[in-house]
Amino acid sequence: MTTAPTAFVRREFAPALPPPLATAGWLGFLREHLFSGFLNITMTVFSLALIALLLPPMIRFLFIDAVWEGSDREACLATSGACWPFVRAKFGQFVYGFYPAAERWRPNLVYALGAILLVPLLVPAAPLKRLNAILFFAVYPVVAFVLLTGGDLDLRVFLLGRIPRWDALSGPGAILGLRLSFWIDYLISALLLITLAVGIARLLGAEARGIALAALAIFVLFDIVLLAVDLNFGLAPVETRLWGGLLITLVVAVTGIVVSLPLGILLALGRRSEMPFVRFCSVIFIEFWRGVPLITVLYFASYMLPLFLPTGISFDGLLRVLVGVTLFAAAYMAEVVRGGLQAIPKGQYEGAMAVGLGYWQTMGLIILPQALTLVIPGIVNTFIGLFKDTTLVLIVAIFDFLGQLRAAFTDPNWATPVTLYTGFAFAGMVYFVFCYGMSRYSLFLERRGAIGKLR
């Protein structure tokens, strides 16, 4: 038996050949992504034509023909490009509204603190998440409030003070912005309420110690917040009426976003609850707020509410708007979250129950992490919508960024043929930066959340 001689045995690996030209390099990229098939070719050509049509005039308007220097309308009369001196002259108003110039370091500090706290919170690799979250969600709002308004609320009465003839304690005036009468009132009220809570707990046969501690903790925390806003830090008070521009846009949007998410989750859970009363209330709340337009909410909060309230009692205009916007956004958020909850298979609930988890543990550990990851696009959609909806506060005479812009258009000193275009081009860029940023971050989160699914 002879073995046929092997004609050829390969002793080493063949060198890797470069991929075919048709799929590699930029040419391959073009071929695959832009020119594969009739439809894609048509769309590519159409898009290119559109870019060729729009981009050059845009660049010419924004840069080449634009005027960069000048102090009033005369500078921009001759040009057909953007009038950037207009934006520079009004820039302070776009960012701070009518916030007094001498006090503008305060919003600046608030912006800076917000950025310092927010960025590590958004970067998954950054350490100390828990501390960071507490600082951002609990401490930062109080600090921002004190900085922006000036604090020193001059609290006079808490609960007991509202009872007529309670003036035994109206002692000397304020020390450091604090009034003794208020704090004695607060102390006694807190003690009374804690006693009441313990009493009720006893009657119902619940464990009184835990209740008492919880109530105490709430009062102490609340006390710290009150102390912070009541202390006189020597900051000049700045009314919210003077706020405006990007400051208002961000305050309204961030408050709405930060508060509406937890509220929305609670409402969504409430709507899917098995307790009829909770479910009923949640449904009513959600359907009510979804049933009225935001403009109506704002209008009602700003102009109708004072008609119903007795004179003397009035809430700050911005506060009313903030509450309205937040509740409105929460209703939408609830429905988005509910969508996520419904997508979780029943087995997950049953599995959690089988392991012996309670309701909150089931929700917190099993259901919500999955449900929220699912609806990230929906949530961010709501956020972006909310960010842009803040513009509607203009109708209740609060000047957000766009409102300041429109007001700036009416200044006869800057009335030129190009002022309007310049202003809107600038506004478009600013809104784009914010909204695009949010949308990119949501994509990043989505990909990160989807890792579990890929495995």
Partner: protein, 337 residues
């Protein structure tokens, strides 16, 4: 439920009670500033300048009021209001006075629980056309396409005018003044119509302002002035006489510059105006030098006009009807005596 109801009734009762009894002037003095409703931006009447301070004719009326009460034109806070919510804001007590380019009509003076006090500017609806059209009178506009802003009385006035003169026309309406002027500039229509003061303001936004002219014809009466709530005659008087005093000061030649000399004047009319004689200011619930304060801080009516809409401003609107009665206009104020 019963308790809720009774609380509501109580709250409503307290509200009605306190609203009826608190005099606005006393409230204003107590809080230390005048809350003044202005427009959200109307060139020449109220718009924020580069430093963010409100300027304009409507704004200066409020500053004069603050000067009269507090001797400080800065003791006024402005609430920018849209055309829709201006009356509600005044009715609900959010603002003390509405100085927002509002036309005095019977309807508004009666039905809303508000009162007009005095006229600060006689406006009227006019037309702007391209000079190339070679039109000299509004009556030659038959067959024209007219650009206007929606939801304002201008649209109705145009309809009335063209129908009354049996002329054909076509309306193209836009949501904002800015869009309207852009459409006119782009040639969407032959004529741009609005209140004359705003025609001047919008003309500044045209690339070739000199190619356009504002016709002399005025087709409507738009007397503008500040408003207050019904039911407080003292405050009504204060606002009304603030305007009258500004006009009287111009008539008597009292200006910011010559105020010091005028304080020594022997002319009895000037003495009464500036409070060096008599106690007329006190009758209003103010100090006797209330007019002197206004002139010192804000200036007389003529100065306010020049600075905001007249030759001292970009708008450069002819004084026209707003000249003093003694100079061929109809600006006339009852005497201070």
């Amino acid at each position: 439920m019963k308790r809720v109801l009774s609380t509501l009734v109580l709250v409503a009762g307290v509200g009605a009670f306190s609203a009826a009894h608190a005099a606005v002037l006393d409230q204003v003095k107590a809080k230390g500033f005048v809350q003044c409703g202005v427009s959200q931006g109307l060139p020449g009447f109220s718009s924020p300048d580069d430093k963010g301070a409100w300027t304009g004719l409507d704004v200066d009326i409020c500053r004069a009021l603050a000067a009269a009460i507090f001797d400080d034109p800065e003791k006024v806070k402005f609430t920018p209001l849209s055309a829709k919510d201006r009356f509600t804001a005044l009715q609900s007590g959010e603002i003390d006075v509405l100085s927002r380019n509002t036309t005095w009509t019977l309807d508004r003076d009666t039905k809303m629980g508000l009162n007009f006090t005095a006229v600060t500017y006689y406006d009227g609806q006019g037309f702007m056309v391209k000079k190339a059209l070679k039109v000299n009178s509004a009556l030659e506009l038959s067959g024209a396409t007219v650009c206007t802003q929606t939801g304002t009385t201008t649209e109705l006035n145009v309809a009335d005018f063209f129908r009354a003169n049996k002329m054909k026309y076509e309306v193209v309406a836009f949501a904002t003044a800015d869009e309207t002027i852009k459409a006119y500039e782009a040639g969407r229509c032959d004529v741009f119509t609005s209140d004359v003061s705003q025609l001047y303001a919008q003309r500044l936004k045209l690339a070739k302002a000199d190619d356009h002219m504002i016709l002399r014809d005025v087709i409507s009466k738009e007397p503008l002035g500040p408003m207050v709530r019904h039911g407080d005659d003292q405050w009504f008087d204060v606002v009304k006489w603030t305007v009258f005093a500004l006009v009287n000061a111009e008539e008597l030649g009292v200006t910011t510059k010559n105020l010091a000399e005028m304080m020594k004047s022997t002319n009895p009319e000037v003495k009464r105006l500036l409070g060096t004689e008599g106690a007329l200011g006190q009758a209003l619930g103010l100090t006797n030098d209330w007019v002197a304060r206004m002139i010192k801080r804000v200036g007389n009516y003529g100065e306010i006009y020049d600075r905001n809409v007249g030759p001292g401003s970009r708008l450069n609107i002819e004084r026209g009807l707003n000249k003093l009665w003694s100079k061929g206009g109809i600006m006339y104020a009852p005497p201070i005596r």
